[in-house]
Amino acid sequence: MSLIRLDAICRHYEMGSETVHALRGVSLTIERGEYVAIMGPSGSGKSTLMNLLGCLDSPSSGIYELNGHHVGEMDDDELAEIRNREIGFVFQTFNLLARSSALRNVELPLIYAGVGLEERREIAIAALTDVGLADRLTHKPNEMSGGQRQRVAVARALVNKPSILLADEPTGNLDTRTGAEILELFQNLADKGNTLIVVTHEENVARHAKRIIRVRDGLVASDEPVT
């Protein structure tokens, strides 16, 4: 059984009288442990696809199977639970809670998973240590560099041991050097057997992955392994 199976996924938005077709029938499978890049020009539907994969959104039609479960049939609470346990998000703009420390940010998914105080702290510290931020636990996002913030975001994404790490333009707001650091971190995660899906429009970012899926106008244009 594949980790992810999409079958003829469509997603359209009603904009007044107009209908915007963001995805027009995407079918693909992703196996456990793959490191996949999704590429495409702006407006091609990458983010829409990402939100669907991350269970933040539901398809207008088509079937999405995650770990054998039909996501389309789930209610809001079940989707939240899937996001909490199976998905780790990394965003272009980091999306950390500005007023909370790094530790608190990383603890957040554990809070919603109902993990107790002591255990939560321990796991969060371990996650931050894994991304090399053991000495930044009490720092707030605005006291950290972009690269550090993104690493906090990665720690937060991984803290619940999700099945998939989803990253939407994770290096988009970083300079080349810190971007490379994040990519190295991703490489390590992939080597350890994590499933990674990274959306990007940069070729050199995509080349780190094992497989590149190109999207154009809401359709998969090509899907090939990186040579």
Partner: protein, 413 residues
């Protein structure tokens, strides 16, 4: 259940964090709740102090004794109304004496007046400075249910000869003469010396009341001046006859004070029952008014809280999106914002309770000279109302927050 408590604790923590980041705004918002709860607690505490006092003072009288005096036992009204009582002529000693002579229809009449407050000293020790020196007649002991436990009672001959004798309440005797009997000893009130002839005990309900030293009322009038308001205490032979006795006494005193027919009494006749009833009726208006005023205050406060919470939800749209993305359910977001509203209200409420009790007790202790009261029931009711305000006015903003679209929220700038 454990999970719910953990979530509650987290929500409270988040709420305190959110409130702390907007200190000024939060303060202004909770001001409304504070004022609402403050007014409830202020008035209720003051009333409780007065009611406690009435029950203490008159409760010890028992059900067959009543009191005639110039001032009403409880008065709630404007200063003009109060002046009406102030302008009444004092009940003089002569009038009280005349009443006593004519009141053969009751078994006991006592006259009593307070002459001096201060510190009573003996060779051994001194009392707290709130001792009250009372002038009395033999009947005062009967009507007050003061029982002689040592020495002799006050006698008519003490009054006729204006002797400098005194009787001490049990607590005072124990303080001044810790080893041995007070009877036959001397006590001093400032420079004036009295010889103790007896010790009396009071009803159990007067536990903790101020200490008393009782001297013949005639001696007191000579020494401390004749312009005193005399309180007349009357005991009926049976509780069932108290209303008749009160009516008769009223007639007798009206005749003595020459109140023209048709004009209202220029004195008050009070029994503990009638006092408490009167207190309840008079304060009913106050309580109704209070309920109205504080409801309006809390309603206004609630609308303010709803408004601020709506602003807060908009401002924190992105935070809500982030929380939803990492696994918060709608219920979690809902809880978070409702708890925030409740915490905000409770902070206001707790401040209101504390300030209300402090204010009312300052008033009671310094202005009305009453012992302080701490109406725990009203504190609990006040805080419960706060939570209710938080839930009612926090629900809509919380619902709005919980039903934001996560993707839209994440994109919100």
């Amino acid at each position: 259940m454990r999970r719910f408590l953990a979530e509650l604790r987290e929500s409270i923590r988040m709420a305190l964090g959110a409130i702390a980041t907007h200190k000024l705004r939060s303060c202004l918002t909770l001001l409304g709740v504070l004022v609402g709860v403050f007014s409830i607690i202020l008035v209720m505490t003051a009333m409780r102090a007065m009611k406690n006092n009435i029950e203490k003072e008159l409760g010890s009288l028992g059900s067959k004794t009543f009191v005639i005096q110039k001032m009403p036992g409880a008065y709630f009204g404007g200063p003009e109304g109060f002046m009406k009582f102030m302008r009444r002529n004092d009940i003089t000693f002569a009038q009280a004496r005349a009443f006593q002579r004519k009141a053969a229809f009751v078994p006991a009449v006592g006259l009593q007046a307070s002459f001096w407050n201060g510190e009573l000293t003996s060779r051994y020790d001194r009392t707290p400075p709130n001792l009250s020196l009372e002038g009395a007649t033999p009947g005062t002991f009967i009507t007050n249910n003061w029982g002689i436990i040592e020495g002799r009672p006050l006698l008519d001959s003490d009054l006729e000869s204006t002797r400098d004798v005194c009787l001490l309440s049990e607590d005072v005797a124990k303080t001044l003469f810790p080893r041995g009997s007070a009877v036959g000893q001397r006590v001093k009130a400032e420079a004036i010396s009295y010889s103790v002839v007896g010790v009396f005990e009071r009803a159990a309900s007067s536990e903790g009341a101020q200490g008393l030293a009782v001297i013949p009322i005639t001696s007191a009038l000579n020494r401390y001046g004749r312009r005193r308001q005399i309180t007349i205490l009357v005991q009926a032979s049976d509780p069932a006859l108290i209303d008749d006795a009160m009516e008769q006494s009223r007639g007798v005193l009206r005749a003595i004070r020459k109140v023209p027919p048709g004009q209202e009494d220029d004195f008050e006749v009070l029994s503990s029952d009638s006092m408490i009833k009167q207190f309840q009726t008079v304060t009913f208006a106050v309580r109704t008014g209070l309920a109205l005023v504080s409801s309006i205050a809390l309603l206004a406060a609630g609308v303010g809280i709803m408004n601020i919470m709506l602003v807060s939800v908009t401002e924190r749209t992105r935070e809500i999106g982030i929380r939803r993305a990492i696994g918060a359910k709608r219920r979690n977001i809902m809880t978070q914002f409702i708890v925030e509203a409740i915490v905000l209200c409770e902070i206001g409420g707790i401040l209101g309770v504390v300030l209300g009790m402090l204010g009312a007790n300052a008033l009671a202790v310094y202005l009305l000279k009453l012992p302080p009261a701490f109406p725990v029931d009203w504190a609990v009711i006040g805080l419960a109302i706060c939570s209710l305000v938080g839930v009612v006015f926090g629900s809509y903003p919380a619902y709005k927050a919980a039903h934001l679209d996560p993707i839209e929220s994440l994109r919100y700038e």
